[in-house]
């Protein structure tokens, strides 16, 4: 009996030692910097538009097409050199760029710019932009707004007509049913397109330093990014992230998930289960159970990929490439590939079979 027990123990240990980590996507990353055509290495935002890739950098809006980069600057009509956010109007092909000096519309090569002086835009610092139907929803440093492309009417949303307390609006995700705004210091604002009513989601414990009520609401008030997909809200803050299905919240923190950092700049849901997290310590992917992190090692800068399973076991995966930097600012998808905006270059993650 003792022998059998010993054998079972050895078998279990052996299984553990040679356990295969969950299969997570592996990428070969190609890097774009000023050395190969990007106007600036500081890439705030990235947008996939079919075969074209748009990169919002600190020194202009770059577009990659036919293996070459072209850059639009203020000389071409861009509102400001620093392009913080990008959105595609899938119906028309127009690209909307939120900049540090206004909102620009790039249409067939022509750029029209809207500022707080020449239009109804609430503020020139445009952190986020999202297009839904005939409406362009904008997140600015002084409130949110909507431009109706049919009537050219601007509608401003701020502390006077919404539950917004702070007006520093960082991100927006617009769909035909709901529009979500990430408001820095004011949680998440929800606009119901059908009823025209606003709702608000805040950190239920109201604590900025700790999480008292885990999975009972938004993780923190300092929200930075939202993504609404398949009726699921993915919300990023500088203190952890959240998923909300309309009834239940689930919070993600470094201490109990595969998130490499609670400081999340940008979040993008793939569907109801899967999402990408752009943090200051690398790019993370969550498939609903397991996590993968892609980054240059924080210790030696060498390419690194780790996989964390549901039990919390972290397994390093041998890789030879990684995103250009661990400070990740944005992501978009091109089929099975990913494009990643980082503080030191743009990365194209090519899925490896």
């Amino acid at each position: 009996m003792k022998k059998i027990g010993t054998i079972a123990l050895l078998l279990a240990a052996g299984t553990l030692a040679f356990a295969t980590p969950p299969k997570m996507p592996r990428y070969r990353f190609e890097i774009f910097t000023t050395a190969n055509g990007l106007p600036d290495n500081h890439v705030y935002s990235v947008l996939v538009d079919g075969d074209r890739i748009w990169a919002g950098t600190e020194n202009g809006l770059a577009v990659y097409e036919n293996q070459a980069w072209k850059t639009y600057t203020t000389k071409d009509g861009l509102a400001h050199r620093a392009v913080l956010s990008l959105a595609l109007d899938k119906r028309t092909g127009d690209v909307w760029a939120g900049t540090m000096g206004g909102l620009s519309r790039i249409s067939g090569g022509r750029i029209d710019s809207y500022t707080q002086l020449n239009s109804g835009l609430s503020n020139d610092v445009v952190y986020g932009v999202s297009v839904e139907g005939e409406n362009v929803w904008v997140a600015t440093a002084a409130g949110a707004c909507r431009l109706d492309l049919h009537t050219d009417q601007w509608t401003l949303y701020n502390e006077r007509n919404t539950p917004m307390i702070e007006i520093w609006v960082y991100g927006v995700s617009a769909t035909p049913s709901k529009v979500y705004y990430a408001v820095w210091g004011s949680g998440i604002l929800e606009y119901d397109q059908k009823t025209g009513r606003w709702d608000k989601y805040e950190d239920p414990d109201g604590e900025t330093e700790m999480v008292l009520f885990k999975d009972q609401g938004l993780i923190h008030e300092i929200t930075t990014s939202v993504s609404y997909v398949d009726n699921i809200l993915w919300a990023a803050t500088y203190f952890g992230d959240s998923r909300y299905d309309g009834r239940y919240w689930h919070n993600f923190l470094t201490k109990d998930s595969g998130l490499p950092s609670n400081f999340t700049n940008f979040i993008k849901g793939v569907d109801a289960q899967r999402a990408w997290f752009c943090t200051d310590k690398g790019l993370a992917y969550y498939d609903g159970t397991n996590w993968a992190v892609y980054r240059p090692s924080l210790k030696d800068g060498k390419p690194e990929m780790t996989v964390r399973d549901a039990q919390g076991t972290v397994t390093p995966i041998a890789v030879t490439t990684a995103p250009a930097h661990n400070y990740i600012l944005g992501i978009d998808f091109q089929g099975s590939d990913i494009w990643v905006a980082t503080a030191k270059g743009l990365s194209h993650g090519i899925l490896q079979k």
Partner: protein, 634 residues
């Protein structure tokens, strides 16, 4: 009932029916005011604007703007097959690729009429964008593209249901659409220049749309161009031609005698020319004022251009034109527009036609050219082998030439200006404006720059000019025009009276931001309160002369007095300015007397630092937006 009574009753009913029929006929006709300011209905002219031939060439479709109908003529006899009533002020039409449907844009209804060409009946009327001006169906008959002038876009509609799919950004004042010969691309032009920095050369474009995907794929820049009209392709697709105005608005207009205020030009593009190039149609004493429509002969031997102001059709010899372009150094500006001796190299005829020739149609073998003479109610038929008018088809029209009609002819013709260079309509395109700022008087370069104001609904908006210097329209249109614009002997008294009657009677276009029954949206309502307020947000009374509603009072939005609103520039001789009316103010950018404000917002965010142009600096951004929403309803 005795037979006599029956007869009397029958006659009475007949008279009543006839009266009702006549009333129905006249209902919804454009309304003009006469010289005395009384409203009268338009006098029943047809005003043919565009012409089209059926695919088999047996029918000529004539789009009659003033009678608001499509007249269908038999091309063998030129007798009327049918008159088809459409919507208000139709502006453009086209046949489906199959030829079974005729689409008509009704510019004041914001609708599209669909006509079955077999039954010649309107089978559908679909809502579209603001001021639809041109329409094209794609080759697959799946999509319709509609150029909306006020919306400045091209709407994409389901060709079977009329359901709008989306709108594509086009140039400002999007108006004319032309498909490429293979149907793969659609080219959209626009009549007002795109926004550009103050006192820089105007910029326009040809918007190129991929018809299969219904997206904008390119914008061909047209530098120094403001006012782009019809475009045509050669059958092989290797030559594209567009008719356009090239204004010289950065130098004083009074230099008409020193080379002109406008060049009337074509831009050519495509494989035959290589690099895109602009060529003039003008020649000294033979200007081609207001080029509008263009057609290319099937064998690509000739280009035909109607010139609404010069009342001629210009004939360009294509081989000679291409030789001209290729045999000399290519200009750095990609333009020969300033060369007044150029056109003698390739213009082979300037054929006199009727008043204000507009639309063109060539028959299949290219031997007959039909020209719509809008202000004559005639169609000229030109024999292209002789370049002569072979016949003139008179459309059913009043025999009498009423004063409004004569005034409109005077407004559009270029015959009164120095060497026939320009007419009123050159700057007031389609009796509106041109979106440009001008240096009108010979007071030195760059002095007293003025924005071109619209001329709708002018009654009770006197005085005129930005400095209020002209007390009435006869002065504005008479001696002022003679001195500063025409630089030549002006109209006789009778013509001046007719012209003034026409201008004074121009109605305002429907306001697209106004709700029915004079209701307001919440934002407009809030804005109206700011417009009318007498106390600022801090409870401080606003002096009467600094309230919006004081200077911009009354139904037209002007108290007809002059004020200094703090917008005087160093080059202005005075800061005292006439209060402009607010009629359709949303459409008429740029703003302020010199056009320095590119949007309504800039009037207050940039040019009102001291609250002299109304008390506005206490308003938040959303409150200023509300004020603007209200102004757009004026």
């Amino acid at each position: 009932m005795p037979p006599r009574i029956q007869t009397a009753l029958g006659m009475g009913l007949a008279v009543m029916a006839a009266a009702l029929f006549m009333a129905a006929l006249w209902r919804d006709r454009p309304v003009h005011a006469n010289a005395q300011g009384n409203e009268t209905v338009a006098q029943g002219y047809a005003s043919p604007l565009e012409v089209l031939l059926s695919p088999d060439g047996t029918r000529l479709f004539v789009l009659c703007q003033q009678s608001e109908e499509v007249r269908v003529l038999n091309t063998a006899t030129f007798t009327v097959v049918k008159n088809i009533a459409v919507g208000r002020v139709p502006r453009g039409f086209s046949l489906s690729p199959e030829g079974d449907r005729l689409f008509v844009t009704n510019s004041w209804d914001d609708t599209l009429s669909v006509i079955d060409t077999r039954t010649l009946a309107v089978v559908a009327t679909w809502p579209v964008g603001a001021e639809p001006s041109s329409v094209v169906e794609d080759r697959t008959c799946k999509r319709l593209f509609v150029a909306n002038r006020i919306s400045s876009n091209v709407a994409v509609l389901d060709a079977q249901t009329g359901t709008e799919e989306k709108r594509l950004r086009a140039g400002r004042g999007a108006s004319y659409l032309t498909p490429s010969p293979d149907g793969g691309r659609l080219y959209a032009t626009h009549i007002f220049p795109n926004p550009s920095p103050h006192r820089t050369a105007p910029e326009s474009e040809i918007t190129v749309i991929d018809t299969a995907h219904a997206v904008v794929v390119d914008r061909i820049p047209l530098h120094s161009i403001a006012g782009v009209f019809h475009l045509a392709f050669s059958a092989d697709g290797r030559l594209g031609v567009v008719a356009e105005y090239h204004p010289k608005n950065l130098v004083p207009l009074a230099h008409l005698e020193h080379g002109g205020a406008f060049a009337d030009t074509l831009t050519l593009f495509g494989a035959d020319v290589g690099k895109q190039v602009e060529i003039p149609l003008d020649e000294l004493e033979r200007y081609a004022s207001q080029p509008f429509s263009v057609a290319i002969a099937p064998d690509k031997s000739r280009i035909y251009v109607t010139c609404g102001g010069s009342e001629r059709v210009i004939v360009v010899d294509v081989p000679r034109l291409l030789h001209f372009i290729h045999s000399r150094p290519f200009p750095e500006s990609a333009s020969f527009a300033q060369n007044l001796s150029a056109s003698s190299n390739y213009v082979v005829a300037r054929i006199p036609v009727g008043h204000n020739p507009r639309g063109l149609a060539l028959n299949r073998n290219g031997q007959k050219l039909f020209v719509a003479n809008r202000l004559d109610d005639t169609i000229s038929v030109i024999d292209t082998r002789t370049n002569r008018v072979a016949s003139t088809i008179a459309l059913v029209s009043p025999k009498t030439l009423f004063e409004l009609r004569k005034g409109e002819q005077a407004f559009y013709t270029a015959r009164y200006s120095f060497q026939g260079q320009i007419g009123c309509a050159t700057c007031h395109i389609d009796s509106t404006f041109d979106g440009l700022t001008w240096d009108l008087e010979p007071d030195g370069f760059g002095r007293d720059i003025v924005d071109n104001r619209p001329i709708e609904d002018l009654k009770d908006t006197e005085p005129f000019k930005w400095n209020g210097g002209n007390p009435n329209l006869p002065t504005e249109c008479g001696p002022r025009t003679e001195k500063f614009f025409w630089r030549s002997e002006n109209y006789d008294n009778r013509t001046l009276t007719d012209l003034v009657s026409y201008v004074r009677g121009l109605p305002s276009r429907p306001n697209r931001w106004r709700l029915p029954h004079r209701e307001f949206t919440p934002a407009q309502e809030r804005g109206k309160a700011f417009f009318e307020r007498s106390v600022d947000k801090f409870g401080k009374p606003i002096p009467e002369t600094n309230r919006c509603s004081y200077c911009h009072s009354g139904p037209k939005g002007t108290n007809q007095k002059s004020f200094d609103v703090g917008t005087r520039k160093p080059a202005d001789n005075s800061g005292l300015l006439d209060t402009p009316q607010l009629t359709n103010i949303a459409l008429t950018a740029p703003y302020l007397h010199d056009g320095s404000a590119r949007s309504l917002e800039e009037i207050w965010t940039v040019f009102n630092p001291d609250d002299k142009h109304g008390r506005t600096n206490d308003l938040t951004k959303d409150e200023l937006n509300d004020l603007i929403e209200y102004l757009r309803t004026r």
